[in-house]
């Protein structure tokens, strides 16, 4: 078991390292000199020495490998470099904004799972055609609705017309918990739709698959009532293949968060990313992309480890006890 964990963790670290190289090189390779952008788009008539000074300031006069080592070294110490645009330390920018994004992501995840899992399970227990059609419809619409569409609709209904909830800004949770939650509710619902739809679809498919397995019939044959069969036998087995959705979930959260934060004018990492693209601020952009990559790799690591723990067939094989 330890070996399995160690191996997976090791692979993840290597992958992360590799990603950082790819990201770094990508930022250097793509056309567009950040110095030019910083100067406002044109280098006509600019004193070459000023140009050189800016280059030096941004660290662009070093060779690429040197720049990379410098960058990586900084990261290991928690220093993500500086924004090309504002010269603020990127680390500061990130820590300022991560709270908003984290709160949004966590709330969205809770709502999404809170909707998807019970809905799929009830659908299996009841086996009602009408309810199933409803679920399919919801899934289809959820998958097709971009976050900004649902976000705007929610703003229009709850913010503008009814005026119940705030539609922009951010109040930190530590400062004012209740206000904070009120502020995160609409964006979280918006984002949760993005996540709930694919999870619902995969889970429902998985449940249907497991339903037709022989052991479901055995469970019923023992005298278990429908909800017992589903909860104790169908759901645990269906959850295993559905674990793969965690990857989709994380992806959806990351991508959807960007749009959602923009729609609700929430000062989080998503809006930071959009801004940094506007400004061609590679200093910030490369740090954010690295963070995103890290989030992926971490989530796939978690999924692998979860598989090893939950499925006894894997667990024992890993431990070497299986026949």
């Amino acid at each position: 078991m330890i070996q399995y964990v160690a191996r997976r963790v090791g692979t993840s670290i290597v992958l992360l390292f590799f990603s950082s190289i790819v990201i770094f090189c990508l930022m250097r390779v793509i056309p567009g000199d950040p110095t030019i952008t910083k100067l406002g788009g044109s280098i006509q008539g600019v004193d070459p020495r000023a140009l050189q000074a800016i280059r030096h300031q941004l660290g662009l006069d070093q060779s690429i490998p040197e720049q990379y080592v410098h960058w990586l070294g900084g990261i290991v110490h928690g220093d993500f470099g500086r924004s090309y645009y504002s010269q603020f330390p990127v680390t500061t920018l990130i820590t300022e904004r991560i709270g908003a994004t984290a709160e949004l992501a966590i709330c969205a995840l809770v709502i999404a799972l809170g909707i998807a899992i019970p809905a799929a399970t009830l659908g299996t227990i009841w086996r009602n055609r009408f309810f199933d059609a409803l679920l399919s419809g919801f899934t289809a619409i959820g998958l097709a609705t971009p976050a900004f569409v649902s976000g705007i609709l929610l703003i229009v209904v709850f913010g503008v017309k009814l005026g119940w909830l705030p539609t922009q800004g951010y109040v930190s949770f530590e400062a004012h918990p209740l206000e904070s939650l009120k502020g995160v509710l609409l964006p979280a619902i918006t984002l949760s739709i993005v996540v709930a739809a694919p999870v619902l679809r995969v889970l429902r498919a998985s449940l249907i698959d497991v339903e037709s397995a022989s052991y479901t019939r055995t469970a019923a044959g023992k005298g278990l009532v429908r909800w017992q069969v589903v909860l104790r036998h169908v759901l645990p087995n269906a959850a295993i293949p559905a674990l793969t959705t965690i990857g989709i979930v994380i992806g959806g959260l990351l991508g959807g968060a960007v749009i959602t934060e923009y729609v609700f004018a929430r000062p989080g990492l998503g809006t930071l990313m959009v801004d940094s693209v506007y400004q061609r601020d590679y200093g910030v952009l490369q740090a954010l992309v690295l963070l995103a990559a890290a989030a992926f790799i971490l989530s796939s690591l978690v999924v692998d480890l979860l598989y090893g723990v939950i499925d006894p067939r894997l667990r024992l094989r890993v431990r070497g006890e299986a026949r």
Binding site: A220, K222, G223, L224, R226, P236, R313
Partner: protein, 332 residues
Amino acid sequence: MSEQTPILDVRDLHVEFPLPGGTITPVRGVSFTLDPRQRLGIVGESGSGKSLTALSLMRLLSPPGRIGGGEVLLDGQDLTKLSEREMARVRGGKLALVYQDPMSSLNPVQTIGRQIVEAIRTHEDVSRRAARDRAIDLLGEVGLPQPAKRFDSYPHQFSGGMRQRVMIAMAISAGPDVLIADEPTTALDVTTQARIIDLLGRLVDEHDMAVILITHDLGVAASFCDDVHVMYAGRIVEKSSSEPLFHQPVHPYTEALLNAICRLDFDVTKPIAAIPGQPPAPQAIPEGCPFHPRCPYAFQKCTGDVPGVTVLPNGREAECHLAADRAGAVVA
């Protein structure tokens, strides 16, 4: 057959599948009785409807399948009229089913011990400790070595034969009156088959159960069962106690089945006496006697009139226009 009150009385059972193309009825009026402690065999080819009959007794048919008519009286109670909740109490408790594919009939992510305990505690209010002890005893009874240790093992750690033993243990754990075994040995090798059948026999005697053994293996039916019913195209075409059936079959289908069995003293130069044609699909059951296209004795009447049940001496029954004649020729 004896004069006891039957513990199970199936009357004119129909199983149907309403499909978009039309309703098909794979079980078309099956009637039989089962006495306490009786060992009944139901034999037939694939597609004869025997497994569906078993599932319908337990009301475990997957939708769109459903019971289309008839009654199933267990100890006087009509199972077809029970609510789902009431039926759940019967399943496992008074009526239990052992399935034919032990490889996939156990929940792979739960220990077998837990699954047996669940079966016990569904029908009896006992503590987990007591249930666990009972389960371990049962595992020992079905012949599992080191039952206490095996209690915490997972299904994939067992071979097919052992898994089937676990299934049997689970099925009898709540002390049912009737045990239905649907082709319990089909998926197993021959030696294991024999052992499982022996086990069944022993358990049935010790636990005072009646057994319905569903199989397409005539040899197993012959050795294990007191009485045998032969199914064809959704109906029971012959009922008899086992020895007379195998020595002097009345229904031509039974005769053909027996003739098709290969024996060691066969003349290998002659072709095997396989039954020509195929069993009819439920949507395409021939007019008159369903067996007539394949029957060597068929005559004009068979193509038009459905044969009714002919009651013969010694409690035998057969659905054939020639039954009386053939029985007359047969009985010494």
